[in-house]
């Protein structure tokens, strides 16, 4: 088996989000939120709808531009290049390179409908990273095998079930050999019977030590898979801790209420 992720480079957090604020007009959806994820860890963001967890996740690869605050990937500011005066400035090219190192899995899959499952997976490695095509195609099939879709490699997304599409999307993210994977409610658009196959796939990745940040409403899954859990409410962190702490001994009354409301 080839390594799923790129080599370790630095000890310390793979990603550190520092005092992220996000406002839309006069509405503030994130109030200076900080979070970090360590090598090999799984961090889950939970909380009621509208608490800002998806927005926070989307700032991690700057799909959503934070109004203020900083994202560090391997201790370097995401999408910025050092300037001669010692500071950092925005750099489009650097942002593209950094984004390639952060896998993202969308709630609505967002596969490319005109490409087969395999092509979805090898397209970016070949066209963006200029990898050897034969090798990338081979790896695409290997990754599809890993997510249990070896037989579906030539299918177009429209002919796949939601759960299958989401697993292709996971393979597509892995094909870039990311430093970490971000999941935005990966099962919210799925029927219950398809949810479990996707969750099993994600859990498999967690067991292999893939660094991940997951936004989810599946509490049993979050409890099983997380090293750290962040509970958000109204754009702020309500509580943070290990899965055991959060789910068995939540400190905050509102965390307890939120968790019991889902049972």
């Amino acid at each position: 088996m080839t390594a799923l992720l790129s080599e370790k480079t630095i000890s310390g957090p793979v990603m550190y989000a520092k005092e992220i604020t996000k406002t839309y007009g006069d509405k503030t959806v994130l109030h200076g939120v900080s979070a970090q994820v360590l090598e090999g860890q799984v961090l889950t963001l939970v909380g009621p709808s509208g608490s800002g967890k998806t927005t926070l996740l989307r700032t991690f690869n700057r799909l959503e531009e934070p109004t203020s605050g900083e994202i560090l990937l391997d201790s370097k500011p995401l999408g910025k290049r050092s300037r001669s005066d010692g500071g950092y400035g925005d750099d489009v090219q650097q942002l593209r390179l950094d984004q390639q190192r952060i896998g993202f899995v969308f709630q609505s899959f967002n596969l490319f409908p005109h490409m087969s499952a395999a092509e979805n997976v090898w397209h970016a490695p070949v066209r963006v990273k200029r990898e050897n095509k034969a090798e990338a195609v081979g790896r695409a099939h290997e990754l599809l095998g890993r997510v249990g879709l070896a037989d579906q490699a030539d299918q177009k997304p429209a002919t796949l079930s939601g759960g299958q599409q989401q697993r292709v999307a996971i393979a597509r993210a892995l094909a870039m050999r990311p430093r970490l994977l971000l999941f935005d409610e990966p099962t919210s658009a799925l029927d219950p019977e398809m949810t479990s196959e996707v969750l099993r796939t994600i859990q498999g990745l967690a067991e292999e030590g893939v660094t991940m940040v997951i936004v989810t409403h599946e509490m049993a899954f979050a409890r099983r898979v997380s090293d750290r859990v962040v509970v958000m409410e109204a754009g702020r962190i309500l509580e943070e801790g290990t899965a055991e702490q959060i789910f068995s001994h939540p400190e905050h009354e509102r965390t307890r209420r939120f968790l019991s409301s889902l049972e």
Binding site: N61, L63, R96, L97, Q99, Q100, I102, G103, F104, F106, S108, N110, L111, F112, P113, H114, H123, A124, R127, V128, K129, Q155, K156, P157, A158, T159, R172, M176
Partner: protein, 272 residues
Amino acid sequence: MQFDPEFFTESLFSPSAPFLRGLMMTVAVSVISMTLALFVGLLVAMMARSRFFALRTVAGLYVWILRGTPLLVQLVLLYMGFSAAGIFAFETVSIAGISIAGAVQAAVVALTLNESAYVAEIVRSGLETIPKGQVEASQILGMTAISTMRWVILPQAIRTMVPPLGNTFNQLMKNTSILSVIGVQEMFLMTQSISSATFRTFEIFCVAALYYLLLTTIWTVIQWYIERHYNHKVGLPYEIPLVSSTVRVLRSGRAGLARSPREETPKEVLTP
């Protein structure tokens, strides 16, 4: 009523050489102008989406003027107006041994300009049908704006563009008849000259109408297959009108007459 059936059938089934030359001219000018208009229209649509205000403005003016004035006026202005004002005149040129009359060049340029404005609008609205998630998915894979357009947006948008593009090509083919005013020897002008030479106006224009109908019908069928191609590309079914249902009827008819051996084999035999 005066109708010469002999002249009619002869003109329809073994048309004279001048008529056929006119037909070929109509087809050639249509296909060349449409092909060029696709490229120019795509370029204008891209300019309309540019970050730069100047490019967006130029694209906006281009579409505004060319869609807002009649093709006939554009054509006469280009071919006769410009040369009358001493700005520019189309002259006969010879490419690879074929001499191309100035009027034909002007016709191709005018049709291309006019058509490209419509193509630009079709491309613009086609691009807007692609969900934002496709752009985001490209972005997180590190794709540049240009490669996102090339590999993700355009290949999908083409599917929604084919029906309106086919429609405007259909119109373009019929609009070639106005090229007769600047003396392009296409099918309409040839029909007119046959009419004035034979006085069989009704018969020969019926023949011309049938040939225009034939051209647009052939195009309609080609368009079905193009639409099917792009539907299959995104894994969607496509029913070709008449053909698909006929094929189905023929297939099921055959299956009904003689069952294939596999269908007769009992299921128990297949599963050990």
